[in-house]
Each structure stands twice: as structure tokens, then as C-alpha cells.
């Protein structure tokens, strides 16, 4: 009886393998997984199996570890590293940081359940470099370093420890309370004059869910308006090139993760209208708030 069921099973597996070769592969992996041994071949198969667990976005801070202070570096930016494919010892992925979307490609190997990756960016961008990192599938973490190709950049090496996280657009995401009264930094990492800080007003409106009227925005400071408007882009995972906004969202907003450098197609009609309204008051404040006039 036992033998018979085994025969049935083999038969069934064979039929499956004929119709769906890929699935047969998976099946084999599952079967072998029960008998994990130390043979190299087995380890490879195991690594194959964890592909799906490894694929996805990893988010965290991209911190400068070797830099030139005089060149006004951006010390820490939030980065998303995406592992897109692991095949035949070749890894494909991309990273999004500081408004820069860059693919990478390289080699990977395994060592004690850890994936070791060494991957290059194409090299045709000024800020391209080489990633060297380890992927820890169990703790779902990536950590490693990145070295710039151009050794004259403000930052030539960065380090990071990134956590795996899925991206979903959620209009209900709110700015954290502690963002109020934070200083706004300009493009050179310096605090802009006294007017440039956030107030508690920045927490009052969510421009992704409520249709704003002029009464909602006309009495707000320019800095608050700018952050309220850019929160819309942040919810869509927009990666900010603008340092001022990058510092706000990268360092102070936990839910924020950069996944795209163009979210225009994702902005809802409500958000589009709010952006237009807020932008008007921002521009008016820029031109007239501290000028002789109205």
C-alpha cells in the first residue's frame, strides 16, 4: 500500500513536470529541503529557494563614512535598495536615493545563510559607484558599504543597514508630531534665516485626503506649506532631489521610503488640486511675505 502511494506520487509528479516545468522545480526544492546537508550543491538549492524571500525593497539611512567636509556633503540620506533578480550568480537590482534612481548588477554568493553581493552601477552617472553588501534573509536586513567611482566627490564611501519593507501608497499617513518646530535646512546644510522653521500648523492638514480651501492655507508659513505639499509626494514614495525637503522626510518621517523619481502619474485629482492651491500661497509668500507690498 505504501509502495502504491509512492508510485502514485511519482506518477503525479511526472504529469506535473510535463505540463509545468517550473512548478516541478519548486516541488523538487521543497522535497530536498527536508534533507539539508552540508554539500555545496544543497546549499545552492537552498539559496535558490530563498530568492522570493530576498526580493523586494530595503530601506534605511545611507550614511557618509568617508567624506570631505569642505565640499558640503549630504551626510545621511534615506535610501531604498531593491533586489530585483538573483539568477545564475548574477544579481540585478536598483537603488533610489536623493532623487537618483540607479540600476546595479553584480555577482552574489552564499556563506552561512548570508548572501554576499558585489554590484556595480552603470558608471555613466557622476554619482555611480560599487555596492558591497550582505543580505541576511532571516532577519531581512541588508548591510554593507558603497564606494563612489569618482574619488573627488564630497562623499566617497557610505555605509548602511537597511530593513526590508513593502511599499504601499497610503493617503492617511500623517507627519509625526515631533516634526513641528524643527528647523529647515537649505541646500548647503545650513539653517536658513529665522523664518525657516516648521510650526504645529504643519500637522493641521493632510493634503492627500482633505480638499483644501484657501482658508486652510492662507495663514500658514511658507515652510509649513512647502512640507504639507511635499508630504503628498512623500506618500507616493517620491525621492527628493531638493535637500531641504529630503532632510525633513529622510530623517524625521519613519513611514517615508523613496521608491520613485517621478510620481506625477500617481498623484490623485484631489492631491493635484491641493498642490496647485498650496503652490500659489508658497509662491506668494516667497515673493511678497517680507517685501514692501501686500
Amino acid at each position: 500500500m505504501k509502495n502504491l502511494s509512492l508510485i502514485y506520487f511519482v506518477l503525479f509528479a511526472t504529469i506535473l513536470s510535463c505540463s509545468q516545468p517550473k512548478k516541478q522545480n519548486n516541488h523538487e526544492k521543497e522535497t530536498t529541503e527536508g534533507f539539508v546537508t552540508d554539500t555545496p550543491a544543497k546549499a545552492d538549492i537552498k539559496a535558490d529557494n530563498i530568492q522570493s524571500a530576498v526580493y523586494g525593497y530595503y530601506v534605511g539611512m545611507f550614511k557618509a563614512s568617508i567624506f570631505d567636509r569642505d565640499k558640503k556633503p549630504s551626510y545621511a540620506n534615506k535610501i531604498t535598495v531593491s533586489i530585483d533578480s538573483l539568477k545564475d550568480k548574477i544579481v540585478y537590482g536598483h537603488s533610489i536615493v536623493a532623487g537618483n534612481w540607479r540600476p546595479f548588477q553584480g555577482e552574489w554568493s552564499t556563506l552561512d545563510n548570508v548572501l554576499l553581493v558585489n554590484a556595480k552601477e552603470p558608471g555613466d552617472d557622476r554619482y555611480d559607484g560599487v555596492f558591497e553588501f550582505s543580505i541576511y534573509p532571516e532577519s531581512q536586513i541588508i548591510s554593507g558599504i558603497w564606494k563612489a567611482n569618482d574619488k573627488n566627490l564630497a562623499v566617497t564611501q557610505r555605509e548602511y543597514s537597511l530593513e526590508k519593507r513593502e511599499f504601499t501608497y497610503n493617503p492617511k499617513l500623517e507627519l509625526p508630531d515631533y516634526i513641528a518646530w524643527q528647523d529647515l535646512y537649505d541646500q548647503n546644510n545650513e539653517i536658513v534665516d529665522g523664518a525657516e522653521f516648521l510650526t504645529e500648523d504643519v500637522l493641521k492638514v493632510n493634503a492627500s485626503i482633505q480638499p483644501l480651501k484657501k482658508e486652510d492655507v492662507e495663514n500658514l508659513y511658507k515652510g509649513d506649506l512647502e512640507v504639507i505639499r511635499n508630504s503628498i509626494y512623500a506618500r507616493h514614495g517620491y525621492s527628493f532631489k531638493n535637500r531641504k525637503m529630503r532632510y525633513v522626510f529622510d530623517s524625521a518621517v519613519d513611514w517615508y521610503m523613496p521608491v520613485s523619481i517621478d510620481v506625477r502619474g500617481q498623484i490623485t485629482d484631489l492631491e493635484r488640486q491641493n498642490i496647485e492651491l498650496i503652490k500659489r500661497y508658497e509662491e506668494h509668500a516667497t515673493a511678497y511675505y517680507d517685501a514692501f507690498g501686500r
Binding site: G194, A195, D201, K214, E218, N219, L220, Y221, R280, Y281, E283, H284, A285, A287, Y288, Y289, D290, A291, F292, G293, R294
Partner: protein
Amino acid sequence: MKMLSQNISVLNLKAIIRVAILLVYAFFCYLMLQITLQYIPVHTDVAFLRIKQDYISMQHYKYAFFIHAYTAILALPAGFTQFFLFIRNKFPWIHAVTGYIYVSTILLFAAPSGFIIGIYANGGLYAQIAFLLLAILWFWFTLRAVLSIRKRNIVAHKQWMIRSFALTLSAITLRAWKYIIVALFHPRPMDVYQIVAWLGWVLNLILAEILIYYIYKKDIK
């Protein structure tokens, strides 16, 4: 001899102050001209109008706004020349011509249009009341000045004209106060608007009353 030199220095000081006032006034008139020029050619989505889009589509607001922007500026130079004694004494026709320009600008265009745009002023009810009151008083003082000179009552004419011009100057003082308050305290945009809507002309009027009191003290007694 000592008396003479003192007289000369006093004379010089007075002359210097007069020239300084003239230059400062010319400078502010130039700034006001710059503000007016933003609206030439007619465009409904520039400068201040960028945040008045709810109203600019209304015909009466649009007409009132542009009439106010184009005509009210005339009252500044026209009004200023009225207070020069040598013009009044030596060229009374200039005084009369610029006087007609001043009063007709205000009574026919600037004050009525100011009233209409005041209804929709930024800063809520308190600011709106301030601007409406300003428009009414500006019209009223100017009208009284015209009526009194038609009766050849020069003293009353002068007094009403001082009041009228004090309110004309609010175009400058309102914006100057806004500049100062923002530089010092960084208030929220509409908060500063509510403050200057009142401060811009009430203080001028108080100063005008004090001036009138001191100039005509003897007459009053």
C-alpha cells in the same frame, strides 16, 4: 553775528529736512509705482491676484481692482504737491489743477473701488471692516475738503485735506508697517494683514489730528 549764523544753520537744517522728506517720499512713490506696474498689461493671475483667484473671476471685483490699482497711485504725487506754500502762492493754477486731479481720482475712482475690494479683503472680518472704514473716511474727508473750498472756507479746507492726505498716505504706511512687523516678529501672513489693515491708517489719522490741533491751536482758542 552769532544770531545770524544760528539763523542760517536753522534755515539749512529746515531745507535739509525738506529735501530729505521729498526724497523719501519720492522713493516710496517709486515703490508704489513698481507695485502698480505689476498689473500692466492687465493680467488676472499675477502678483497679489494669484491669491485672489476666488474673487477675480467676479466682474465687479475685477473692475474695482484694476481701477484701484491704476488710479489710486495718482493721489500720491497729486496730493503731495498741495502742501507746498510756494506753489499755492506763486502758481495757484497748479494747486487748482493738481487739486482737481487729486479729488476726482479719489471721489470718482480710488475710494469707491477701494470700498468694493475692501469687502473681499484678506484677513477676515476685522481686516474687511478696517478697509471699508478707510474707504468711507477717505471719501468723506476728501468730499468735505471740496465742499469747504467751494464755500471759500480755507481753514476747513486745509484741515479736511490734511485728514484726507493722511489716509492717502496709508497706501505707503500700511506696506511699510507690514515690512517692519514681518522683519521683527515673523507673524503668520494673515495675522500681519489684520494688524496693518488698522495700523496702516488709524495711526496716520491720529497724527493728522495732532497736527491740526497744533497748527490751528490759536484759531481754536
